[in-house]
Symmetry: C2
Subunit: 393 residues, 2 copies
């Protein structure tokens, strides 16, 4: 890594201040153009029009298929190693928005295997988080006809045979170069599982454009999979990527994480907790005294409450622009901004929690989202397992 890099981004570590443009150069992805943004469904989503999704690989075939009513899919997954926070859920609400607008197929892989490999947690703990996180996913309200949820260990009958095929295409030295030498052999193998996730919609449904909306730090997983697809051993298109910035953590801009010391706003937080966390912890872009603030104004660029509203929790562009203006002018105070952010987030979470409470038992709810037996067979067949293979019986 060149000496001038003062930040590190791999799927397992985000450190330092992020220069999003330099990340694009580094990963070789392209900025999302105005023309591409215009091809997203109307009404457009704040995450797109406000450049939270700011870069892409092969987004055009996906958008063209969506606009022409042809099959197109999104893959957006979850690593169940803890409770979900608001930063984890917005890609899923974004996926649901697309599904509602253009009938997008949504595939949601749960990488419980990877989280076990990576974290100092037992299989029982990972299993508990899997169940909890699945309920949050189900609360989003996807269309069961167009949505599939895959849990790596519980769907191993399709995940492992497919990953076996793709593992042969990936050298250990590629993995070492992409991620650093893995700590254990589960992590060595995992890129083959991730490739399975990203290619699965096409292996189940036939060749079509797939888009992977992910934080920019997950891009290496997509590139490994794109390299497999590029070999053309399988009749699949290279999955595209829609790359997002990181939702700020309460303590300031950067990647929000429930694993480090910064408090996160959890999907299970009640109104009081949300207000408490934001009042106490949300990093402010305002001045230290009221007098100074009225005179000099605040900086919305680093104000976490403003960022939350901008990223996801204020639908109206007019409103976010007005807030930024008034904050810079000093007429809007940090405390007022915090209250607005807390109010919108609490409202969002209450609605989410209400939908979650209305769900039936997990197994029953999940059943309608699982791959059918014939979908499993199709996926294995398209991966190269012949009809008389025992895995197909």
């Amino acid at each position: 890594m060149p000496a001038e890099d003062d930040f590190t981004v791999t799927p397992y570590a985000v450190e330092g201040d992020i220069d999003y443009d330099r990340l694009l150069d580094k990963f070789g992805a392209d900025a999302l153009t105005a023309e591409q943004k215009a091809k997203f469904p109307d009404p457009s989503h704040p995450l797109v029009r406000r450049d939270v999704f700011y870069a892409e690989r092969d987004v055009d075939p996906f958008l063209d298929a969506a606009n022409e009513g042809k099959p197109h899919s999104i893959v957006t997954g979850r690593g169940p190693s803890g409770p979900m926070h608001i930063g984890h859920i917005f890609p899923f609400y974004f996926a649901k928005y697309l599904q509602d607008q253009t009938g997008t197929l949504v595939y949601i892989p749960f990488s419980d295997d990877e989280k076990y490999f990576l974290k100092d947690k037992s299989l029982g703990e990972i299993s508990d988080y899997t169940r909890e996180n699945l309920l949050d996913l189900l609360a989003v309200g996807f269309d069961p006809e167009r949505t599939r949820i895959i849990v790596d260990t519980a769907d191993a009958d399709v995940v492992y045979p497919l990953a076996t095929a793709f593992a042969k295409e990936v050298t250990q030295s590629t993995v070492d170069a992409t991620y650093g030498e893995p700590e254990n052999i589960g992590l060595s193998f995992y890129p083959a599982v991730q490739a399975t996730h990203l290619l699965l919609p096409q292996l189940v449904e036939g060749r079509h454009p797939t888009l992977v909306p992910i934080a920019v730090d997950q891009d290496p997983h997509v590139r490994v999979c794109r390299d497999i697809a590029a070999k053309q051993r399988y009749d699949v298109a290279k999955p595209g990527a829609l790359l997002s910035k990181f939702l700020p953590s309460l303590e300031g801009p950067g990647k929000m994480s429930s694993s480090d010391d910064a408090p996160s706003i959890l999907l299970s937080d009640d109104r009081e907790t949300v207000f408490g966390k934001i009042r106490t912890h949300a990093y402010s872009g305002g001045q230290t005294s009221l007098k100074e603030h009225r005179e000099q104004g605040g900086n919305p660029e680093v104000d976490v409450s403003y960022q939350f509203l901008y990223y996801f929790f204020e639908e109206s562009d007019e409103q976010v622009e007005r807030l930024a203006r008034e904050y810079q002018q000093g007429s809007l105070l940090s405390g007022e901004l915090k209250e607005m952010a807390a109010e919108n987030i609490a409202n969002f979470l209450e609605a989410h929690q209400e939908r979650r409470r209305a769900l039936g038992p997990l197994e029953e709810e999940l059943e309608q989202y699982r791959l059918t037996e014939s979908e499993r067979q199709d996926a294995r067949r398209r991966t190269g397992y012949p009809d008389n293979s025992l895995v197909q019986q």
Copy 2:
């Protein structure tokens, strides 16, 4: 590796002349003692009493359990990358002999995944060999009540969740040190799958002594698994190993292989083919002229026909001793020895082929040897998956 080593033995390469005693030093296994040999069932098996199985790790707990009528198991597998030859089948007939004598549980894993990772063959080709090889295994005539056959891709619902657990215990650097850096990430992961194979009987049936009868070159796989068991995260005993010499190839002493240029005697060969291969290709320990042979005698140590009889195809100790003596004295000719070996091998194969022809359709026959649903659940539970885990539903 020390410079004085003029041979290389890893699970993927056997080169040079084998010094079996030096292999024991290298791998840290122990020679099988007379006392241990005496603890094997009576009548003893030629492979034991003639030192083809010549070394061991933890064989005593297995033999004690067998003698006390307690649960004990053997794991002996097959990598389905081609047709089976006579060298491949003798561990299975040995396992059946033990099962007949003391009710040994026999677990037979088919590593179709590993062979796909390792060989330049398609999933379809590996699948075809899997079916063919399974028929040969079924022809051995194991007791379905005491035998389980596992095909890695077809039993991925149990193999992958267990391998996931064990993969966390194995570092990539351990694999690199044991096997050399693997060519692809499937091979990096495979030691976790192999550990699954070796621990499976205990995970299905509860803790008991397991023995793995294998050619000495496969020992590293056992050691990786023993290291996992030694961590005592799971209630399993370290699997023991019963290590064999290599059955000679027709071209001379060493490891018999159907993958290199030396012809092998296949399980499907008819009588005429067996006689033809042995007459044409079996390396002879005799002299170049009849006159010399009568005067100087032959060398049974390097005579492949003699070795075949000694290893597996002549039950009578008296007979093999007489043959060695007469061959050394020059009264028994190479050609006569070849005819005897061919006759015994052809008889053996005809009986095997007859049993194979009598089998019904593969899927039906195999069904009674597959893990039951409750056995799969037991194995996953003993590996640490809680009852409410989705993999258990």
